[in-house]
């Protein structure tokens, strides 16, 4: 009895090495400017090329500015890295969607948008949030630069098969609870290392009823509990999303692919190395208070005391000290300085719709700087077409241009030292959004509520 994961993994094993890793064939390789230049240098020093440029896709996102993208990039190091990706892509015949290109955007947003992401595929990228693509029933995971070089050179990777875990969320979600909250809730229950060594399948009604965008948000955050990746079995919703996109197969190729996709589900009596079940009704809008994504709680709760933890007290206290929070504090009402809506976690159209739902008819709080960054030009266009931009503008918000932006602050979108940001991104590590920055991870609804009130606010009060 095979699991969904087994089926996809096993069908991609080129060779099994005894007491070693499997040689796994990779269907799609996504490349960006930060983790690829040294890999291309490696190819050069070995005097070899890219084995499958047609299975390789390059986009610029990590380093790119989110205003004035039509002007030359000011930071010389960023400009050099972007130039290197363009030259490397051209030299090896890889399609390159650089700054200014109509298809440009965050690698994990554009992959699904153009049908590069497909069910049952193996997908890698030198970025840990590659797990996003698991929403389509793909095995997708982040790799290091040596592995980027490996895939460029051979279209294969060497990995031991991870253990399997199924996480069921049954029942229904309450009002104001989004896919981001589901993921932050699971991570808070498992900790940031609770799924290390595992590949996760998400199952249950909550995921079945979730949109593709929501599934992407959940799978995206799999890495934050240590999992290599997370996936959801493809269903009608998945195929409806995939159909008709630029790189989606058509005609007989579609029929052949669909025949494979129809086999992608976990068989009834298949077993997992670990299985967990949560109730949708137990999940509230979440917020983090510490310096890793596992330090999250229902927005109305108080920050746990060190005494209530099992070990790790000094690390916990160090974390709260960095955040300038106290054990037992309530998060509600804490003043904030920045709001960031965007990233590969929450930079899709559905996230902008959710944000707009809250801010409609209200005004941005004067003490808040808000960065609203679409995940791609396609998302940007949809925001305009759906009339969301008009609502945002009327409420005092501006829309920026696509990119990773303040999620990792490699460009100018940096939260200053000591300032608080309610962020829809994926990591609240020390300094993640700029040296000394303090990040509160939350859903687009919580971010919107903070943006109009200037403080941490339960979004259910504004819905």
């Amino acid at each position: 009895m095979k699991t969904l994961f087994d089926k996809v993994w096993d069908s991609h094993v080129v060779r099994k090495i005894e007491n070693g890793p499997d040689v796994l064939f990779i269907d799609r390789h996504m490349v960006h400017e930060v983790t690829s230049p040294v890999a291309f240098l490696g190819l050069k020093s070995r005097n070899i090329g890219v084995k499958h440029p047609e299975k390789t896709f390059a986009t610029a996102d990590h380093n790119t500015p989110t205003i004035n993208q039509h002007l030359p990039v000011k930071d010389p190091l960023s400009a050099k890295q972007l130039k290197a990706l363009e030259e490397n892509s051209n030299a090896h015949g890889i399609s390159y969607w650089g700054l200014g290109h109509e298809k440009n955007g965050i690698v994990h947003v554009v992959g699904p948008e153009y049908g590069i992401t497909q069910p049952g595929a193996t997908i890698v990228c030198g970025d840990s949030h590659t797990s996003t693509h698991g929403a389509f029933g793909a095995i997708a995971f982040g790799i290091g630069t040596s592995e980027v070089e490996m895939v460029l050179a051979t279209q294969c990777i060497m990995q031991p098969k991870p253990k399997s875990m199924r996480i069921n969320v049954v029942g229904n979600l309450s009002k104001g609870v989004t896919p981001k909250d589901v993921a932050l809730y699971i991570i808070s229950q498992l900790t940031t290392s609770g799924a290390t060594g595992y590949f996760v399948e998400y199952a249950g009604d909550v995921f079945k009823n979730m949109s593709m965008e929501g599934r992407m948000t959940v799978c995206n955050l799999s890495i934050e509990m240590g999992a290599r990746g997370g996936m959801i079995a493809p269903d009608e919703k998945t195929l409806d999303y995939v159909k008709g996109r630029e790189f989606t197969p058509t005609g007989t190729a579609w029929d052949k692919a669909k025949a494979y996709w129809d086999t992608l589900y976990t068989e009834e009596n298949a077993t997992f190395d670990k299985e967990l079940t949560f109730k949708g009704e137990d999940i509230e809008p979440m917020i983090t208070y510490g310096t890793n994504p596992g330090m999250g709680m229902g927005i109305g709760n108080d920050i746990p005391t060190a005494e209530s933890l099992e070990g790790g007290v000094s690390t916990y206290k160090k974390s709260l000290q960095y955040m300038a929070f106290n054990e037992g504090d309530s998060m509600i009402g804490k003043p904030i300085d920045f709001v960031f809506l965007g990233s590969c976690t929450n930079g899709r159209i559905e996230d902008f719709r959710a944000f707009t739902e809250i801010i409609k008819g209200k005004q941005k709080a004067p003490n808040v700087t808000a960065w609203l960054v679409p995940g791609s030009h396609k998302v940007e266009a949809a925001i305009k077409e759906e009339g969301l931009l008009d609502i945002l503008t009327a409420a005092g918000f501006e829309l920026r241009e696509p990119g990773c932006s303040a999620c990792l602050a490699m460009n100018d979108d940096k939260v200053p030292t000591g300032k608080y940001a309610v962020s829809t991104s994926n990591r609240n590590f020390e300094g993640r959004q700029g040296p000394g920055s303090r990040t509160l991870l939350a859903s687009p609804l919580v971010a919107a509520a903070a943006a109009v009130t200037g403080k941490v606010t339960d979004p259910r009060e504004l819905l």
């Binding site: 983790t35 991870p162 000394g436």
Partner: protein
């Protein structure tokens, strides 16, 4: 990329008893803009190591003269977060050849193995013993044998064995990398590629 072979290593250690050390701390994102693998050791633990004005933070372990060595000993869940291999490069480039912890994040562990840094996972108890020994004597030596898959606290003789798969072990002992292996089975991969459904 080629790296030095690893066989045995005897060295004093640098203790970093903090849990969940993420790769953003090991090397912050703003130092990922290089297009070559050079100089990452200078920015290892940048924001824990230096003040905003670039003066060293005296209480951080890398700035304390009494601690030195080729083995970094970190707390549980070391290397979580971003997949940036730059973190493993920074560790190697600074001069560490081995990281010891009671638990490693997956991608960081893989990256280490691919660049010639040996990740050694020990029990939580053994980790505490290493810290205790270094507390007594900052120059206390730890010996790691890759062929034997053992780690020993030299002063007390306490020993524990660690896991590594046979393939990766062979690579580390010989300084091989995965690409050498994969290029040797190129035809097999090409034949496989012709029959993939996607």
């Amino acid at each position: 990329m080629a790296y030095d072979k690893f066989n045995t290593l005897k060295s004093s250690i640098v203790p970093l008893p903090i849990e969940n050390v993420d790769t953003d701390q090991i090397i912050p994102a703003r130092f990922l803009k290089a297009t070559e693998r050079k100089g990452f050791g200078d920015n290892l633990f940048r924001d824990w190591r230096y003040n905003p004005d670039n003066t060293p933070k005296k209480d951080f372990v890398l700035n304390q003269d009494k601690y030195a060595g080729k083995i970094l000993v970190g707390g549980k869940n070391f290397g979580s977060g971003s997949s940036r291999e730059h973190a493993a490069w920074a560790v190697y480039d600074y001069g560490f050849r081995c990281v010891v912890s009671s638990f490693f994040a997956d991608i960081f562990r893989n990256n280490c193995l691919n660049v010639g840094v040996l990740p050694v996972q020990v029990s939580a108890e053994f980790l505490e013993k290493i810290y205790a020994e270094t507390e007594k004597d900052p120059k206390a030596q730890v010996e790691i044998s890759l062929p034997e898959q053992t780690i020993t606290i030299v002063g007390t003789g306490e020993k524990e064995s660690f896991d590594i798969n046979a393939y990766k072990k062979d690579n580390m002992l010989n300084g091989f990398d995965d690409i050498d292996y994969l290029l040797n089975i190129k035809e097999e991969i090409t034949a496989f590629a012709e029959n993939t459904p996607l």
